[in-house]
Amino acid sequence: MKKNNFWSPYIAGIGLGITLLATFYVVGWGLAASSAFSLLAGVGTREISPEYAGTLKYFARYLNVASPLLNWVLFEIGGLFLGALAGSLLSGNFRLKFDKASGMKNGTRLLTAFTGGMLIGFASRLSRGCTSGVALSGGAQLALSGWIFVIAMFISGFIMAAFFRRLWS
């Protein structure tokens, strides 16, 4: 195992919890992530074909506003990138690489990275959010949504991992 200089997960968890609490306090909603990429998909579709984007009822929620890109979650994701970049650079943890399980071919990894992402993108829309918007934020609100999502996610993840051991282990 290679050495790493990550913080204790409990310290990082306390920091993340305080950040989430500050978000509820200041703006009145929680942290989020997946909707930024759904919004970008909607804006991207409209750039390529405004007529087709107009027929997609689901994307209307992002596109029927004055400036779709002036979106809270999108700016928060910009901040997330900067914060993680600062953390990895300052700790010497930044490495340009194509990360994968040892022994996996690059082509296979390209496929798993993309198809896994597609499942996540689809599932996040169905669930009204992801690990951030539903699990973390809903969980902290003691909302049923957050807890049923977390339980379903872990059960499914354990089953997947049992059948596809070579994906990561």
Partner: protein, 191 residues
């Protein structure tokens, strides 16, 4: 003045960037930009994900209800994540599969990309593509998407107990879970 606040668009977007920076910093420093650590929980090798996640949930839940109880935060103006029972069960299950296959979730993929992982950028493209698939398929799945609505259901109301009883149980379960995870990780290091 009681929180949450009514902000101008400029201040709101500025708050998004600042809060996002801390979000990203703690994710990356907690090791959650690394897909090996992220998937470790599913292979019972590394429990960084549940440790960070459940610590954060308990801290934020306790803080939220303290602020609400002492009147500094008006909980009725906090947007509660709505429950759609079956869509969120099915969504969570599909999400778990995507998590193990890609090695990331949306926020952690951004943290992974920010720490130099180009595969995380591929996953982010996949997430956008999956969102587009959802939007295209929406007319066919809208009935299921809107099914089993339960509104702002929260555990204390469902179990007819106080929010502090729920938080105490969650905190207790988290501590027991963390102890078991520490024993598991120690065994692996020794073996």
């Amino acid at each position: 003045m009681t929180a949450p606040f009514v902000l101008t668009q400029d201040i709101s977007l500025l708050s998004a960037v600042i809060l996002g920076i801390f979000f990203g910093l703690f994710l990356e420093r907690g090791g959650l930009g690394d897909p090996h650590k992220l998937t470790g929980v599913f292979y019972l090798t590394d429990f960084a994900v549940p440790k960070v996640m459940f610590t954060a949930i308990v801290v934020a839940a306790a803080g939220l209800h303290v602020l609400s109880d002492i009147g500094l935060l008006d909980m009725s103006r906090v947007w509660i994540v709505p429950t759609f029972f079956w869509p969120q069960i099915v969504g969570g299950a599909i999400f778990g599969a995507g998590f193990v296959i890609s090695g990331y979730c949306p926020g952690t993929a951004v943290a992974g990309f920010a720490s130099g992982r180009l595969d995380a950028l591929v996953t982010l493209a996949g997430i956008a593509a999956g969102s587009l698939v959802f939007a295209v398929a929406y007319p066919y799945i809208e009935v299921f998407y809107m099914s089993s609505p339960m509104g702002k259901s929260v555990l204390p109301a469902i179990f007819k107990v106080s929010h502090w009883q729920v938080i105490a149980i969650l905190a207790g379960l988290a501590v027991v879970m963390f102890l078991i995870m520490e024993i598991f990780e120690r065994r692996r290091r020794l073996s």
